[in-house]
Assembly symmetry: C2
Homo-oligomer: 209 residues x 2
């Protein structure tokens, strides 16, 4: 079995090499260069495919964060004569910012997919990768800002602050707090995936030797 597998791989490699050789018959060093080029291209294509998969994962978690936050509403089962107690994300400006920021992140991730596909089709293209690194970095800052600010408010909602005389509101609005916390966690997951995307793109950008 092992032997037949290794033969298979050899055949595939020969096929790859043939592509490089076809237009360059008899020029040994150029062919060698072309083969190296093709190998570098293969690694870069692999990175580009992984980039696309991670981008879809980031899209999913960013969408989850935005939707979880935007649909969070809790109405308490008791009410006074004057008003009913209810909590929704737009009571706190930070959570509104969170929803807007995550919506932008989701939109960006959708728009970045074509660039990622270009990197798969043309593994040696420099400009799309460079654009992806630059905009990914900006989006990392936006996502982390949204996640961090909401995390600060969620912490306050859970624990309150004695010195500033801000009381915890999670005793009353337990479900609200849980969903919001989930959205913040999803946003941080998006940040981690985006950091990994930048690292991937940067390592694909470096010259091959």
């Amino acid at each position: 079995m092992e032997k037949s597998e290794s033969t298979k791989i050899d055949v595939v490699e020969t096929n790859k090499e043939r592509k490089g050789k076809a237009p360059l018959l008899g020029k040994a060093p150029v062919v060698a260069a072309a083969v190296v080029h093709a190998k570098g291209g293969g690694a870069k294509r692999g990175i580009a495919i992984f980039d696309l998969i991670l981008r879809i994962a980031a899209f999913a978690s960013a969408l989850g964060a935005a939707v979880a936050m935007a649909t969070t509403e809790e109405t308490l089962p008791f009410f006074t004569q004057f008003f009913q107690f209810e909590a929704s994300y737009d009571d706190l400006p930070t959570f509104t910012f969170f929803v807007v920021a995550m919506a932008i992140v989701v939109a960006y991730l959708v728009l970045s997919v074509p660039f990622s596909i270009v990197c798969i089709v043309r593994p040696h293209a420099v400009v799309p990768r460079l654009l992806l690194i630059i905009f990914d970095t900006v989006i990392i800052a936006l996502t982390t800002g949204a996640a961090g600010s909401s995390a600060a408010i969620v912490y306050l909602a859970h624990n309150g602050n004695q010195d500033a005389n801000w009381l915890a509101i999670c005793q009353q609005f337990g479900d609200f707090c849980q969903r919001v916390s989930g959205a913040v966690v999803a946003a941080f997951v998006t940040v981690v995936i985006l950091i990994f995307l930048v690292v991937l793109s940067a390592s694909a950008l470096r010259r091959h030797h």
Copy 2:
């Protein structure tokens, strides 16, 4: 005058070329390649020097943010029998996180200077640039998280929140709020510089043609 200047430049360029030529006498295409290499090196060295300057600027603003936050204290001129009203950064856990995070950022920026210098000395080195991009990106996330979370709390301190029944505390602690806001702004400035650093490193990393 103009002519003598252009002569000067020619001489300098010839010197550069000589370095490339010395071990490769009489091999025209190789020499051409070496010259292109040297020119790419010049641009990359310029980027590396700019990187170092920006890094020092980021260090200054991060240090300013950390120090401004850590030294903020305000004691109100009146007090009751039981306690004196005073505000300091460690009353709010978010601000403590801010100080710790910015201290980490400052330490990182100091440690990254040798790598930046390596990039100036060896403009074609790939590994130090790649390391700088990766760690800069992580530090962007850390800085933005700290800045964003503190911004959310500062906003709350300024405006309060009626729905959660959190009162603004900046009427009482005006100086405290101003210094904290300044620290947050300095942290965001650091983020902008760091994003620019990643963009620079990425553009220096790409192959020259």
